[in-house]
């Protein structure tokens, strides 16, 4: 449970993950919003559904939905990335109980995804 004497604190690494993920994602969303608004599109017109297979083509064609969906995905997945980083950190430090907690959190999030896919 107790980390070794040379273990570094996890918090700064997790902070970097959260901040980098947020700024990168909000940047993508801002580009998508600018493309949408400058093209005269209305947000209330109803955007296209998320399609992972179409995402690269949308990005290459500079279509707003490509940037918006990639940014939204980045926003939603950033906290999960923080948990993955914590899991690796706890594991390296020998904090097995906390590593199990992090794994369980990811399992709960995955269960939500599966339930959404099954019932959606």
């Amino acid at each position: 449970m107790t980390p070794g004497p040379h273990a570094t604190a996890l918090e700064p690494a997790l902070a970097r993950v959260l901040q980098a993920g947020t700024y990168l994602s909000i940047g993508l969303v801002a580009v998508g919003s600018e493309l949408l608004i400058s093209a005269g599109g209305s947000p209330l017109a109803g955007g296209p559904a998320l399609s992972l297979s179409r995402l690269p083509a949308d990005l290459l064609a500079l279509r707003p939905e490509g940037f918006l969906w990639l940014g939204v995905l980045g926003i939603v997945l950033t906290p999960a990335l923080r948990v993955v980083t914590a899991l690796l950190g706890f594991w390296r430090r020998g904090e097995r109980a906390m590593a199990v907690v992090a794994t369980l959190i990811l399992a709960v999030v995955a269960a939500g995804v599966v339930s959404g896919l099954l019932t959606g």
């Binding site: 959260l18 939204v72 926003i75 950033t78 906290p79 914590a86 709960v108 959606g120």
Partner: protein, 293 residues
């Protein structure tokens, strides 16, 4: 074009207001999108969850850097909030939108009453610029981060629960807090809020965690809680990227402005104004719940 700019401006206003008043973004974004732009409530909740994650992640990063958040306690509790959020996300698609509107109206009334009670108490000392991280007040924590830096949360020997305490405090009654966390997760998923209104008192009053640490830790937990339910909304088509984009950017910008202007604005007059807005919004939500709006 006008609608997109209006949505951006509305997001900025909601972000700034939320940040200055220490309220959750969801509390403002959901009424903005439903009453202001005519979006279905469930879709507004999905977009609100995205905005809540943005502000939570940005401010939690600062709290972690400052070692104000108790990482281990936050992660143990977020296991339960995330479970609640997954359940809440699934339930949100099963219940009538009018019931959701009624629940939201009740939440608004509760916050209005809480703010009125706070108005009667003596004013707190304002936080200074270097003490208040950007977006610190937006993710749903009343009166967040009003103090000085918390010493680093250190690890302790012993079992998992023994290692969840921090400098000067130990964690008590964890099972009760775990149960309350499930409730906070369900509320977050159903109403598109951060859930700090539940988590902060839970940690402070039930677990015995200092208020400043509870606020910072709640912020950390909000991200994965909202993420768990947002993924359910995303997969089930409950999030419109066209609406989420301008709103999230607006909220992010507004929260940055609000965190810098917060201590320069007359809090009392603003809170009185905001209580009136909350009461009006609660009435409109109640009308929607009753099917007369």
């Amino acid at each position: 074009m006008e609608v997109g700019l209006l949505m951006l401006a509305g997001g900025i206003a909601a972000g700034a207001f939320g940040s200055i008043l220490g309220l959750g973004g969801g509390l403002l974004i959901v009424p903005l999108l439903t009453l202001g732009f005519g979006l279905p409530l469930r879709e507004a909740v999905g977009v609100s969850l995205v905005c809540v994650i943005v502000t939570s992640s940005a401010s939690a990063g600062v709290y972690l850097q400052r070692r104000q958040a108790n990482l281990r306690l936050g992660m143990v509790l977020e296991l339960f909030t995330a479970a609640g959020a997954v359940v809440g996300g699934a339930v949100a698609f099963l219940i009538d939108e009018r019931l959701l509107a009624a629940l939201f109206a009740l939440l608004l009334v509760y916050v209005a009453v809480t703010m009125l009670q706070a108005l009667r108490q003596p004013a707190e000392e304002p936080a200074t610029d270097d003490e208040t991280p950007p977006h610190a007040h937006l993710a749903g924590e009343p009166g967040a981060d009003r103090g000085t830096r918390q010493p680093g949360i250190t690890e302790q020997d012993g079992g998992l629960v023994a290692g969840l305490g921090g400098p000067g405090y130990e964690v008590e009654r964890l099972p009760a807090a775990a149960l309350g966390s499930v409730g906070a997760g369900i509320a977050s998923a159903l109403l598109g809020i951060g859930g700090g209104l539940i988590k902060v008192p839970l940690m402070h009053l039930v677990l015995g965690v200092p208020l400043r640490v509870a606020t910072a830790t709640s912020n950390l937990m909000i991200g994965i809680t909202a993420s768990a339910s947002a993924l359910v909304y995303l997969i089930r088509g409950g999030i419109d990227a066209y609406v989420a984009g301008p709103t999230a950017v607006g909220v992010f910008v507004g929260a940055s402005i609000g965190s810098r202007l917060g201590h320069r604005v007359g809090q009392r007059a603003l809170r009185v104004l905001f209580v009136l807005v909350l009461v009006y919004t609660a009435i409109e939500m109640a009308r929607r719940a009753a099917g007369i709006a």
